[in-house]
Amino acid sequence: MSEPAPLQPSPERLERRAVLLLLMLVALVGATAVYLLHARGVFESTQRLVLMADDSEGVVVGMDLTFSGFPIGRVARIELAEDGNARILVDVSRKDAHWLRTSSVFTLSRGLVGNTSIRAYSGILTDPLLPDGAQRKVLAGDASAEMPRLVSAARELVANLTTLTAADAALAGMLANTRSVTAKLDQPGGAMGLLTGNPKDAARVMATLDRTNQLLARVDGLVRKADAQVFGPQGLAVDTQATVRQVQALLGDARGSLRKVDALLEEAQGVASNARVASADLGTLRAEVEASLRKVEHLVNEVNRRWPLARDTELKLP
């Protein structure tokens, strides 16, 4: 008995399934297309930023411009400027454009393994916003370009170190001297013998130190005596204090006397001023008296001239 043929779905059901499959494909492709367009930033509102660089090596279209590690823009185009520099046109999304200010700094750094990145730094976030179409110079840093310089510097350093640590170098001599100094320090006499160079001089230094000690002891005694004489109960300081008190008392008396003299002087000054006024009046009085006397004399002369008893006043010389 032959097996029954597998049941085929009805034509309508087949067509429905076929349409479903077609719709599934269209939905998948459509959704993917929209997602990719969104991922590429087609639906994003952007503003243009132009970065000028000496060398755009490593920069590719679609590369991100990052700010604090977050991508805020995308390289849209790279072209040569008229002066031969590279112009990197970056589309920055408008919702993130507020992170870029007029004082923002842009860097283009190339790592050792070739990964290039463009970064933006904004130190002062209160500065004006970077306008659309702004043009800025980008600071380039290339780690691989620093390598030859680094290698050369390292080579130079190694050569210097080799010269420094050579057997006939100054450092070796200095270390040998240091060793001999430390050996001398270990010997009897130690640091004293090292400083003076020989035992005789070391003994003299010790003798000098002993005498200095003795001198200091004597000076100490002198100072003690002087202290007693100056600051003791019968000392100079006490006498000086008493003298100062007496002088203060004398000065007080003198002050009182001076006050009295001051009063006398004031009175004398008054008298002098009165005398001055009187002198000035005396002068006027004198002038008036002289004028009166002159008048009287003139009157007497007139009387004598006119009176018969007038005498001949002419003098006749022998």
Binding site: P9, E15, L28, G41, D64
Partner: protein, 264 residues
């Protein structure tokens, strides 16, 4: 002397036969392509045959292939993420996953899966129909073998490859996000940017063309070989095997061309 002459004669015939086979495959492909672009072909008369083969090719494959590609994607994504993390290259892991898995592996996997499950058996059916003169009988009765039997199978194969590739790609992108960031929605923007960075216009075009080329290759080559080759001429290799070899060669060439387009 005689054997060398016979060998060169055989070689010449093999080259001519191969050239003839490729010409037939390309010709058949052009005919099927023309039919696919003709709106008239989707009329009531041929809609039934198209729907039948479309559903037969794609409907049974959906669950199994989805499961298989999900498993493979999880494994590959996990391996790449863990390896990248151990080398301190986490920032490149996602991009690598998207490039390797979505751009390269998934289209090829979908094409080979459809070839094994759909188009090679379909080519065998057509070859059997040709051997039993069923196609001749159909033509004699006024039917159209190309529109009724050959084109629906070929177009269904192409449709199946495209659908499975699209579905698996979406699933792979979703899995890559989940395995990298978990169920957190806060990394969607960053992940979208990475995907957008990978899918530049050139890369997207190459991906689409590659998927279409692979679908055409796995559909047309087995069917074309089945319709052209005959068993009695080359007894040492079967018709299916020859079709398979031609298909793999073309798949290899398509892969090489896509790699050139993406990375050159």
């Amino acid at each position: 002397m005689v054997s060398s002459v016979l060998d060169s004669h055989r070689l010449g015939r093999a080259v001519l036969h191969g050239w003839s086979a490729w010409r037939h495959i390309v010709h058949l492909g052009a005919l099927v392509g023309a039919l696919a672009l003709s709106p008239v072909y989707y009329g009531r008369r041929w809609r039934g045959a198209l729907a039948l083969h479309l559903v037969r090719s794609s409907w049974p494959l959906l669950p199994w292939f989805t499961l298989l590609s999900t498993l493979l994607s999880v494994i590959i994504i996990r391996i790449v993420l863990v390896s990248a993390r151990s080398y301190g290259l986490t920032q490149y892991a996602l991009e690598m996953v998207v490039r390797v898995l979505v751009l390269e592996l998934i289209p090829m996997t979908a094409a080979l899966f459809v070839a094994m499950r759909v188009t090679i058996p379909a080519a065998g059916e057509l070859a059997a129909m040709r051997r039993s003169d069923a196609l001749e009988a159909l033509r004699a009765s006024g039917g159209d073998a190309l529109r009724g039997e050959i084109a629906p199978r070929a177009l269904a194969g192409m449709f199946a490859v495209t659908l499975l590739a699209a579905l698996s790609s979406v699933i792979a992108l979703l899995l890559a996000y989940l395995l990298s960031y978990g169920f957190s929605p806060w990394a969607i923007e960053r992940y979208t940017r990475i995907v957008g960075h990978v899918f530049s216009p050139v890369v997207t075009l190459v991906f689409v063309l590659k998927t279409l080329a692979l679908s055409a290759a796995v559909s047309m080559i087995p069917i074309g070989s089945g319709m052209h080759d005959r068993e009695d001429r080359y007894g040492d290799t079967s018709v299916e095997l020859r079709g398979l070899v031609r298909m793999f060669v073309v798949i290899l060439l398509i892969e090489a061309a896509s790699l050139l387009g993406n990375y050159l």
